[in-house]
């Protein structure tokens, strides 16, 4: 006769089973557009020869000069943010060169689809802006890689709120994918008739993957 403890465990397992299944498709449906974006743009990034998705040769460039008020003395980032505000622009600030002159500040501000290259001269109280606009393919390309940071580059840090939100989104997609993968292993294991072929698919996937992640380094 089953004990009340067994009943309790059974109930918990039943609830887990139902919610694991629900989570699998709730997360999948919530992340659907994000997954399609990252999957499709990954394909585009891996095939630069696909001419239909060209965006750099078709970019539109404009340039203009504006009067600015020299920003108060302070860190480069605060000065750059001040200048962007005066110009009515926003984006992720990127340092393109080391600052050699305290009376000049050159930087780039970018957002998916738009790049602003800004050169300032505090003595002349002028800012020269070169604006580059990309087509929809350019927007998609940049969304895939828009993190605001690069390995080994400590000078450029995420400094725009929307970049941080997008970076958080990328993390969330990664976590969501892993929850879906782990949940799918459990759901598959609960189907005894599918175990054998599932094991073949799973082992072959992991074997190929591990060959690339660690195997090649050990073999060659």
């Amino acid at each position: 006769m089953p004990s009340s403890r067994d009943d309790c465990v059974r109930r918990v397992l039943d609830i887990f089973e139902v919610w694991n299944r629900r989570l699998h498709f709730y997360i999948g449906l919530y992340l659907l557009f994000f997954l399609w974006l990252f999957a499709f743009t990954g394909l585009l990034l891996n095939h630069p020869g696909w001419t239909f998705a060209e965006f750099w040769p078709t970019r539109k460039q404009t340039a203009f000069e504006r009067a600015i008020t020299p920003p108060p003395v302070g860190p480069d980032l605060a000065q750059a943010e001040n200048i962007l505000k005066q110009l009515g622009l926003s984006g992720e600030i990127e340092w393109t060169s080391a600052r050699a002159d305290a009376r000049r500040l050159d930087f780039r501000a970018s957002r998916p689809g738009h790049i602003f290259e800004i050169k300032t001269d505090f003595d002349r109280e002028r800012a020269t802006v070169r604006r580059i606009d990309l087509n929809v393919w350019g927007v998609m390309h940049i969304l895939h890689t828009f993190t605001g940071v690069r390995a080994g580059d400590s000078r450029n840090q995420r400094d725009w709120l929307l970049t941080s939100i997008w970076a958080f989104t990328m993390d969330a997609v990664g976590i969501g994918l892993m929850i879906m993968v782990l949940g799918s292993y459990y759901m598959w294991w609960r189907l005894p008739r599918k175990r054998a072929w599932g094991l073949v698919a799973l082992i072959s996937g992991w074997a190929v993957c591990l060959l690339f992640v660690v195997g090649l380094r050990l073999l060659v």
């Binding site: 629900r22 498709f25 709730y26 999948g28 449906l29 919530y30 659907l32 557009f33 994000f34 999957a39 990954g42 394909l43 990034l45 891996n46 630069p48 957002r111 998916p112 689809g113 738009h114 927007v139 390309h141 828009f146 993190t147 940071v149 390995a151 080994g152 400590s154 929307l162 939100i165 997008w166 970076a167 989104t169 990328m170 993390d171 990664g174 976590i175 994918l177 892993m178 993968v181 799918s184 292993y185 598959w188 189907l191 599918k194 072929w197 599932g198 698919a201 799973l202 072959s204 996937g205 992991w206 190929v208 993957c209 591990l210 690339f212 992640v213 660690v214 090649l216 380094r217 060659v220």
Partner: protein
């Protein structure tokens, strides 16, 4: 007929999903390293001892070649020296009549420093670790150096696998939508999640692009 279609789709969704799951894990885990990269590059303690190779048969005019032709000419020298991997952008140093050949394997970087006058080379390198391997695989083949990249058979296979992962992901997402629509009881909740995802996605993208 409809039942048969459902069962086949469900099985394909399951097996395709299981097969690509490790690749999805690789791409998902490496996202964290790409979004939160370490501030500095790997420590030099991971460097391997340099070793020399002598008496190399260097093809005439190697330094004048460029692009894929130079890669193809260097490959036999690397094979002879027992260096395998994806050759990166080769740098020619005219003053020293030397070629610096970077060779990568996921998780390892090797430099084949070829002295054209002495017909010798020095092989040095370092282990960059599993995180770097994941990042390298995530970014391969990528949009850069299109003319020379994927010059190693293993990376050509990876390119194929990376593409296959995308196609299979698109398939399992579409088949997943079909399988969800069959579950009548979950339609409303699923629709709410889909709508919430669409609003989040288009909202963030709109703010990034035009906001």
């Amino acid at each position: 007929m409809q039942r048969g279609f459902y069962l086949v789709t469900r099985d394909l969704h399951l097996y395709a999903g299981l097969f690509i799951s490790p690749f999805l894990v690789v791409f998902a885990v490496s996202v964290f390293v790409l979004v939160h990269p370490p501030g500095s590059l790997p420590s030099p303690s991971a460097e391997r001892t340099a070793r020399p190779v002598q008496n190399l048969e260097i093809p005439a005019g190697l330094e004048n070649l460029s692009g894929r032709a130079r890669i193809d000419a260097v490959r036999p020298l690397l094979d002879r020296a027992g260096v395998h991997g994806e050759i990166g952008s080769i740098r020619y140093i005219p003053k020293e009549h030397r070629l610096s050949v970077p060779v990568g394997v996921p998780g390892r970087e090797t430099t084949f420093d070829l002295d054209l006058d002495r017909r010798s080379a020095t092989i040095s390198g370092r282990e960059t670790g599993i995180w770097d391997a994941l990042v390298q695989l995530h970014k391969s083949p990528g949009p850069h150096l299109a003319e020379i990249r994927m010059n190693w058979i293993a990376m050509r296979a990876w390119r194929w696998l990376a593409d296959a992962t995308v196609y299979l992901l698109l398939f399992i997402s579409v088949s997943g939508i079909y399988l969800w629509t069959v579950l009548r009881l979950e339609r409303r909740a699923g629709m709410a999640m889909l709508a919430a995802g669409a609003v989040s996605f288009f909202g963030i993208v709109y703010a990034l692009v035009a906001g």
